[in-house]
Amino acid sequence: MSWFDAANERIAREVLARYPKPKSAVIPLLHLAQEQEGWVTPDAMTEIAELTGTTAAEVLGTASFYEMFKFHPVGKYVVNVCTNVSCQLLGGEELLDHVESTLGVRAGGTTDDGLFTVEDVECVAACTEAPCFTVNYRYFHRADVDILNEVVADIRAGRSPLERGAAGDGGELPEHGTLGRVRQHVTADRLAGVVAPEQVDGPPSWMPTSATATEGAS
C-alpha cells in the first residue's frame, strides 16, 4: 500500500511520467510528501525510494542537502526573515529580533502551539523591497513591525494575510508543505512524449539531416 494518499499517488505517477529517468522525480516527490504531512517522514522517503528505483538512504542523502525539507514537525506557518546584506542594511536583523520576541522563539524554533516556525534565512530575491520576510514562501515586502504584527494576528484569527503581501499574490495561504496552489498538468494527447535517453538515436523530425530545409509554420 502506498504511503501517499490516493490523490497524491495519482499526482506522483504523473510527476514520474514527466522525467526520462525516475530518480529526477526525487525532489518533486519529497515536496509532495511534505505537502501531505507538513514534513518529510522516514516512511515517505522509503516510499519515494520505491517509486524512483533508489534506496531510502539515497533519498535521505538528497533530501538532507536541501534547506526546505524538514525531518521533524514544524509550524503550520514558517516565517522566514531575510538578514542578508540588502535586508540587513534596512533593518532585517531588527525585524528578526522582533519576530523572535513577538513569537517567543529563537530562529530555528517552533511555537508551543505548533503554529509558527521562525527561520533566519539567506537572500530570497526581494532585495529592492527590503527588509522582507516570507510566510510559507509567500512574500511580504518593505516589512516593518506593524506588517509583521498584522500578519501574525491574521494567521491566529484564521484569516489569510496574503492581501498584505507582495502585490499580485492573494487568496488563501496554504499550510507549510504546499508550495504552488497550481500544478502542472498535461493531458495525454498534448504530451510530446518523454523517452529515456538511451532510446533516442537520432535528431528529431524537424531537424534537417542534410541540406534539406525544414517546413515552416502554417
Partner: protein, 484 residues
C-alpha cells in the same frame, strides 16, 4: 517598439514610476525588451501575452530553418544574464555533432545575494520565458526542456505552472507545436533551497535527483556532457526571456540597443541606501553606475543626503566598488578590468552609516552557510573566514586576525585576488576573475568581501580589534574576582 506598453502611468514620463502590481519594478521610460508587458496587471496570462505580440517570435522562428534561428541569436550577441556573461549563441553551438538527445535546462534558481529579476520575469511574464525556451528547443533540436524554478518562489512556480497548462492546451507546447513537426515537452521542476544549485553542473545534479554539488571540470560546459550524460544547454531565465524579442524584431534591431560589446538591455536590481531602490531595465554598456544611482529616472540619489561609501556591482560574489568607480559603464569587460564583475545584475549600495566589518561578515556568512562541502578549501575555509570575522565583530578579535583572514582566503583563491583600484593609496585594480583551488567559484567568491573591505577599511577592522567593541559584560569580570 515599446510605445503603448506603459498604459496606466500617464506616458511620457522621465522620472519613472513604480508599477504597483510588479513589486519593485520601476518603469524608467527606456527601451523594453523583457519587461514590455509589466505595465499590464494580467501580464502573466496567455490572453494578455497573445494580445501584446506573444508567441510571434516563435512563429517567426518556425518559418525559418533551425540553423538560421540559431544564427539570429549568435548575431544578436545575446550575453548570458546569469553571471558569467557568456554569449548564448556561442554556448548553443557547443553541442557535439550527432549526439542525441540533447536537453535544455532553464536556470531559475535565482539566489545570488542582491539579485531580484528572474523571479519578476517568471511571476510577471511566464509566457515570454516559455516562448524563449520553445525557440531554443526548435533551433537546437531539443525535445525536452526542464524549467528549474527556485524552491522558495511559490508564486513564480504557480505562474509558470499555470502558463504551461495554458500553453499546452492552446497548442504552443507539446505535440506538434502550432501544427508543425516541432514537438517538445517543457517540465516545471523546482528546487528545495540551495544556492549552489545555481551553478550549472550542480543544477544538473539536482535535476537528476542528487545533492546539488558541482561536477568536476573539464568538460567546462554541460553542452558536452550534461543531464543524463547527454549534451545539455543551461541558460538563465533572463537570457531566454530576450529570445522572443530577438526573433520577432531581428538581431540587427537588438544590436541597436546597448553597446557594441554588450548589446541589448539588462535588468538591474539596485538595493540598499538609495532613494528609490528598484528593478530597472537598462541599456547595457552605455549607462554608468552614476546614472543608475543618481539619475532621476533611476534611483534618484543616496538616501536622505547621506554619502556613498561603497557598492557591490554584481551580486554577493562580486568584489566591491567605491565612489571612484561610479563612472564605469554597465559593461562586463570594463567592469571586469576594473576588478569586479556585473554578475547577475545585482547592485547593493551602502552609505557612510554602513559598518564595513558587519556587512563583510554577513556576506561571508552566506558563503559559509551555502558551501556544498565538496571541496575542502571552500568547506573549511569559508567557515573559518566566518568564525574569524564573527569574533572580530563580537570584540574578541586578535591583531593577527586580519592577516589570518587574507591567508585563509589565499588558500581558496591563491595569488592576487581581484580588487578595485584605490586611487588615494596609489593601488591599481586586479582584474577579474579570481583563481581557484575549488571546482566552482563559490569558495573564491567568499574572499571578495574580505579583500574588498580590508583594502579600503583596514582601520575599521583594527578599531574593532583594539577597542574590543561588543565584549559581553559578563566576560569583563575576571573569574577569580567574582564574588570577592
Amino acid at each position: 517598439m515599446d510605445a503603448d506598453l506603459r498604459d496606466g502611468d500617464g506616458g511620457g514620463i522621465v522620472t519613472g514610476t513604480y508599477v504597483p502590481h510588479a513589486a519593485g519594478y520601476v518603469d524608467n521610460g527606456g527601451p523594453k525588451v523583457v519587461t514590455s508587458r509589466f505595465g499590464h496587471e494580467d501580464s502573466f496570462t496567455l490572453e494578455r501575452s497573445l494580445a501584446t505580440g506573444g508567441y510571434e517570435g516563435l512563429r517567426t522562428a518556425l518559418a525559418m530553418a533551425p540553423d538560421d534561428v540559431h544564427g539570429q541569436i549568435r548575431e544578436a550577441t545575446l550575453l548570458g544574464r546569469g553571471g558569467a556573461g557568456f554569449p548564448a549563441g556561442v554556448k548553443w553551438g557547443f553541442c557535439p555533432e550527432g549526439v542525441w538527445p540533447r536537453y535544455l535546462v532553464v536556470n531559475g534558481d535565482e539566489s545570488e545575494p542582491g539579485t531580484y529579476k528572474d523571479r519578476l520575469l517568471m511571476e510577471r511574464d511566464p509566457h515570454q520565458l516559455i516562448e524563449g525556451c520553445l525557440i531554443a528547443c526548435y533551433a537546437l533540436g531539443l525535445t525536452q526542456c526542464f524549467l528549474y524554478v527556485r524552491g522558495e518562489m511559490a508564486l513564480a512556480q504557480e505562474r509558470v505552472a499555470a502558463a504551461l497548462n495554458e500553453a499546452y492546451a492552446a497548442g504552443y507546447v507539446g505535440r506538434e507545436v502550432l501544427e508543425t513537426q516541432f514537438s517538445v515537452d517543457i517540465t516545471l521542476h523546482w528546487g528545495a533551497g540551495a544556492y549552489i544549485v545555481g551553478e550549472e553542473t550542480a543544477l544538473i545534479e539536482s535535476l537528476e535527483g542528487n545533492r546539488g554539488m558541482p561536477r568536476l571540470k573539464p568538460p567546462y560546459f554541460p553542452a558536452a556532457i550534461g543531464l543524463y550524460g547527454q549534451p545539455t544547454i543551461v541558460n538563465n531565465v533572463e537570457t531566454l526571456a530576450n529570445v522572443p524579442w530577438i526573433m520577432a524584431n531581428g538581431a540587427a534591431a537588438y544590436r541597436q540597443m546597448g553597446s557594441e560589446a554588450s548589446p541589448g538591455t539588462r535588468m538591474f536590481a539596485i538595493s540598499g541606501h538609495v532613494v528609490r531602490p528598484g528593478v530597472y531595465e537598462v541599456e547595457q554598456g552605455i549607462t554608468t553606475f552614476r546614472d543608475l544611482f543618481y539619475g532621476e529616472e533611476y534611483c534618484q540619489g543616496i538616501r536622505d543626503g547621506h554619502e556613498l561609501k561603497m557598492f557591490i556591482p554584481g551580486g554577493g560574489s562580486a568584489p566591491w566598488f567605491f565612489a571612484e568607480h561610479l563612472d564605469l559603464p554597465l559593461e562586463a569587460r570594463e567592469v571586469g578590468a576594473a576588478g569586479s564583475m556585473l554578475g547577475s545584475g545585482a547592485i547593493i549600495v551602502m552609505d557612510e552609516t554602513t559598518d564595513a566589518v558587519k556587512a563583510c561578515h554577513r556576506m561571508v556568512r552566506f558563503f559559509a552557510r551555502e558551501s556544498c562541502g565538496k571541496c575542502s578549501p571552500c568547506r573549511e575555509g569559508t567557515s573559518w573566514e566566518e568564525k574569524i570575522l564573527a569574533r572580530i565583530l563580537n570584540g574578541h578579535g586578535r591583531p593577527s586576525d586580519i592577516d589570518l583572514l587574507l591567508d585563509v582566503g589565499d588558500n581558496i583563491s591563491p595569488g592576487p585576488y581581484p580588487v578595485a583600484s584605490h586611487a588615494d593609496e596609489g593601488l591599481e585594480a586586479v582584474p577579474f576573475p579570481p583563481r581557484q583551488t575549488t571546482i566552482c567559484p563559490l569558495g573564491p567568491s567568499s574572499v571578495a568581501p574580505i579583500t574588498s573591505t580590508i583594502r579600503r577599511f583596514r582601520h575599521e577592522f583594527e578599531a574593532r580589534i583594539t577597542r574590543g567593541d561588543g565584549i559581553p559584560v559578563a566576560a569583563a569580570v575576571p573569574a577569580g574576582e567574582a564574588g570577592s
